[in-house]
Structure formats: C-alpha cells, structure tokens
C-alpha cells in the first residue's frame, strides 16, 4: 500500500510539474543569480544547498536554477522513458513468449535463439555506442528504443517458461475437451496464469529503467541538456559533493525512493493477484 501511495504521488508530481513550477514561480531553465554566491565559486547561498522558502529543495550551483523544478521535470522524463520502455518490453515479450511456448517447434527455436543472442550481447556497451553515435534523433525515443531492444528478452523467457508449464496442466486439456479453440485457450486459460509474474516483472522493470536511464544520462549519452533528468543532475552534482552535498543527495533520494516504492508495489500486486491470498 505504501508503495502504491508513493508511486502515485511521484507520478502525480511529475505530471503536475508545470502547475507546481508556476506556483513556486521558478521554471527549470530560469537562472537565479541572487541565490548563489559568486565569491564562493557559485555555491548556493545559505546552508543545505540553498534550501529556503523560495527554493524548496535548494538551487543548482553556478546557475542558481531551482532544484525542485528540475527534479519534477527530470522525473517526467525519467518516468516517461521507464514506463514506455516497460510497456514495449512487456507487450513484445508477452507476444513472442506466448508464441514460443505455445507453438513450439521452429517458432520456439527462432525466438529462443534471438533471445539468447540478445541476452549474451554486452548490452550496456552497445547502448552507449548507439546513443553516442546517433546524433539528430529525439533522445527520448532513442533511449526507449535502445532499452526495449534488450529488455523484452527477459519477459519472453519468463512467459515462455510459464506457458510451457501451464500448457500441460490438466485444466488446459479440460478446456480442449470442452471445445475451447486455440484463441480461447491462450486468452482465457493461459494468459490469466501469466498476469502475476508479468506484473511483478513490470513493477521491477520500471525502477530498473529509471536506473538505466539515469546511468546513461550520467555517462553523458542519455538525455541532453537543457532537458533535465535525474541521472544528468547526479552527474552534475558529482563535482560539487564535497562543497554542496545536498545537490547530490536530492536527485539520489528521488531515484532511490522511486525504486523502493515500485518494488513494494510489485510485492503488493503479486499478493493481490494470487487467488489463494484472498480467502472469503
């Protein structure tokens, strides 16, 4: 439950970023020269990274941009990328895993070999290479595409394994004897048995992709400035953590909170989808 509340809050905050920044009065790209101290090399004025009533989470060193505003807009990008990538990987993996497990034969061989190939690939190096080589493309679309290409294999494996066990259960045979056609058996008999593992995977994939996006942006191949993202902020804060630790702590805290909340949500969903957990 706590996970659900935190996840919903984060999503809501990200979605309402323009409203909130309008209310605080500080857009993510607005410089505030009054909040930093030029004599200290651009450090924010005041303790705790310049946190005060004007800038609720402090300001960025040198530029004086509002950290809260950048966190919210960065969260939009991070969550958008993570959710899109999760949706694409789950749907692709589900369809291919179902086909491989249910049809067997050459379809299974083809899909399984592609899965093996992609899984044995050094995906991080490949992602960095592609992201740094491809230039004039929408970075968000590119990030989603690159994360999805390597992500669906895990779902396909889980689904294939589950389908292989479910397909030989007696209740599937019973549905055949009852006159169920292939479509019915896939949708009504096999798919319901897959919801729990897939939901659990999806809720773990979202934080994993938030992390991956942050890692790639941290390495400088992800979301490009001026678009803010959490990984980019952590990367910027790296150079300031001795003098302005709060600037590093805030994006890290949001990243950690998102991952933790999504994981808790995954556990909760798994319990909710287990028919044996709710006894009446």
């Amino acid at each position: 439950m706590a996970g659900l509340v935190v996840v919903l809050t984060l999503v809501l905050l990200a979605a309402l970023a323009p409203v909130i920044t309008a209310w605080t009065g500080w857009a993510p790209e607005t410089f505030d020269k009054t909040a930093i101290d030029p004599n200290m090399g651009g450090l924010p004025k005041g303790a705790w990274g310049g946190i005060d009533t004007e800038h609720l989470l402090g300001v960025e060193p040198v530029t004086g941009r509002d950290v809260l505003s950048r966190i919210l807009y960065g969260g939009r990008i991070s969550l958008l990328i993570a959710m899109l990538a999760t949706a694409i990987t789950v749907v692709t993996g589900l369809v291919l895993g179902l086909l491989a497990g249910f049809l067997g034969g050459w379809a299974d061989t083809m899909i399984s070999r592609i899965t093996d190939l992609l899984m044995s690939f050094p995906s991080l190096i490949f992602m960095i290479a592609i992201l740094s080589v491809v230039r004039d493309v929408n970075r968000i679309v590119l990030l989603v595409a690159v994360l999805s290409i390597f992500g669906w294999t895990v779902v396909a494996r889980i689904v294939r394994g589950q389908v292989l066990t479910i397909k030989h259960r007696e209740y599937v045979e019973a549905a055949r004897v009852g006159g169920g056609m292939t479509g019915y058996i896939l949708v009504k008999e096999i798919l319901p048995g897959l919801t729990a593992p897939i939901l659990v995977y999806a809720t773990q994939a979202v934080p994993a992709y938030v992390g991956a996006e942050a890692a790639l942006s941290f390495l400088g191949v992800g979301v490009r400035p001026p678009t803010p993202s959490w990984g980019q902020m952590i990367n910027n804060a790296r150079g300031w953590f001795m003098t302005d630790p709060v600037y590093l702590a805030v994006p890290c805290a949001f990243l950690g909170l998102t991952v933790l909340a999504c994981t808790l949500l995954g556990d909760g969903l798994r319990d909710a989808f287990d028919p044996k957990a709710v006894r009446s």
Partner: protein, 323 residues
C-alpha cells in the same frame, strides 16, 4: 438441465452399433516410445468398460487419444460410427458434446483463476447460470458454490465440479482418467456412487481408467487389462474377477487385499518380480514373459495374439492351462 435432457432425447444410433469403437490404436512418441501398441475395444451405450494396468502401460494415452487430446499414430477411433481419428479441433467441435473427460487430479484440472460457474459452463458457454446451479445440485454441491474458486474446495468437492463440467454438454461417453485415484478412500466411494447414479439416470457410457482392479470391480460391466501398450485380457467383469485367465491379471488380482482376515492370511499372493520393461525397448515375444511365472521358451520369441478363452479374449499362449 433442459439441454442435457434434449441431448438424451436426440435420435440415437442403431442398437447394433457400439458407441465407441477403437481399432488397432497405436501411439508412438518421439524417440520411438510405443506407449500404445495396437489396442482395440468397443464400448456400448450405457455400459462401463474398465481399463486397468500399471502406470506407464499406456492406459491414459489411450484415453487421451479417444477424446482426441492426442492424435493417434495409427489405428482408428469411431464415435457413433463416425471416424474421428484425424479430425481437426474445429471438426471435433460438434462431437465435444458426445464425449467428455474427467481428470485424475481434481485441482490441476480446474483453472485456479476461474469460478465454478465459468468452469462448468465451459469454453463454449453451453449452460446459463441457472442450469449450472441445477447441475451443481445434481452432483451434490450447493448453489452458492457457483461463485467460488477451486482452491476453496476439498478434493471430493473439486472432483464433483469436474463431473459437473463433464456433464454440461450432455455427453454419451465419459472417459474417467483415474477419476477417483487421487481421492481419500471414503470420498472415493461417494464419487463412485455418484457416477453410477448418473449413469443410470442419463444412460452414460464410461471408459473407466484405473490402476487398481478393486475400484473397477464395483462399476464395470467389462474390464480390459493392459500391459505395456497392449490389452492382455478383456472380458465381462464377473468372470474376469472370479477366474482370471492371463497370469498378469491374476497377479494384479492377488494384490487386492481381501476384507476377511482368515482368507487374507491364507490366500495365495503372486508378487511380480522387477519393473515393467521400458516401452521404448519392449522384450521380444510376449512382453510379459520376463516377469511371468508360466513363461516357456515359446513366449520369448512368439508374441501371443488375443484369442477366445473361456468367454473372453486373452493374449497368452498358456491361458487354457493356467486356471
């Protein structure tokens, strides 16, 4: 219940034609395992044929070929005179109402995510909710069970749900694949009684698959004993039990305990040596000869065919001498 009744009143086949006719049925799995090797029998309307044998003898495979969960490698299955051996799933649809199956494990044969109502109504939704409830009451469940999930039931109740599902289409033939083997002894009797009541009421025919001759005794008109993919003895239940002709049937019967302790203490028990041979490499000649007490030189080379002995069919060279 209307549709069930309607199916019963439907024009039936001529008396002479058996409801189910199986000829030379064989199933070879990948890797050359001959799970079933030339099995043939008939089931008449309203009768019960028991199919008995050790695990791995091919009795379940035979049952699955008859309801066409498996496609036989060779041989034929005729239902109501129609050849259904190689029909596609779609072509089988109209026949799904005629033959149904009850499975061994009541829990794994009920989808844990479906309500009883969904399960009994079946993939084709042949029954409305009221009819489902009527059917549930007939098999000894309460109307409120319709909205429950399988895990909320005991094994016996779950098997009743499985029976209700099999009855939903108004079948003429039900293949009971070890339908009571997984149940407690006390519940077993209740389920067997329910099955016989339903048989009388609806003129059902059963193919009753079991590994235990004692269960089969109470329900079957005729019994077929299988060993390593073949029928070794088939005949009326009464004579097969009182006077088994095949040494394997005798061994199976001697394993059934007798209730009277005096008889139990002195009766002769035949203990089979070793395990049944692998169906991937059956022994030459009579496949039972390595474990048979009567085996002669002839049994090692010449496979016995089914032939008439004392009013039934037996596949043993020495069936006459072994009384």
């Amino acid at each position: 219940m209307k549709s069930v009744r309607a199916a019963l009143d439907a024009p039936t086949v001529p008396e002479s034609m058996p409801l189910l006719e199986v000829r030379d049925l064989a199933m070879t799995f990948r890797g050359g395992v001959r799970a079933v090797d030339g099995v043939g029998f008939e089931v008449a309307q309203g009768e019960t044929l028991g199919l008995v044998g050790e695990s791995g003898c091919g009795k379940s495979t035979t049952g699955r070929m008859i309801v066409r969960l498996l496609e036989p490698t060779s041989g034929t299955v005729h239902l109501n005179g129609q050849d259904i051996t190689h029909l596609s799933q779609r072509e089988l649809l109209p026949l799904r109402g005629t033959m149904q199956m009850i499975f061994q494990d009541p829990f794994s044969s009920l989808n844990p995510r479906h309500t009883v109502n969904q399960i009994v109504a079946g993939p084709r939704r042949v029954l409305g909710r009221d009819q489902v409830i009527e059917l549930l009451e007939r098999v000894g469940l309460a109307p409120e069970h319709a909205d429950r999930f399988p895990h909320e039931f005991s094994g016996g109740q779950a098997q009743r749900v499985g029976i209700a599902r099999a009855l939903a289409n108004g079948p003429k033939l039900i293949v009971c694949d070890e339908a009571v083997s997984a149940l407690d002894v006390s519940i077993r009797a209740q389920i067997i009684n329910l099955l016989s009541d339903l048989q009388e009421e609806r003129g059902l025919a059963y193919l009753f698959i079991a590994h235990d001759l004692s269960i089969v005794r109470h329900v079957c008109t005729r019994v077929a004993v299988m060993y390593l993919g073949r029928i070794v003895e088939i005949g009326p239940a009464a004579s097969l039990y009182s006077d088994p002709a095949h040494p394997y049937t005798r061994a199976l019967l001697s394993a059934v305990p007798v209730a009277d302790p005096k008889i139990e203490a002195v009766r002769e028990r035949i203990v089979l040596r070793g395990d049944p041979p692998s169906p991937a490499a059956p022994p030459p000649g009579c496949s039972f000869h390595p474990r048979c007490a009567l085996a002669q030189r002839r049994c090692e080379s010449e496979a016995p065919q089914l032939r008439e002995v004392r009013g039934r069919k037996v596949a043993c060279h020495y069936a006459e001498t072994s009384a």
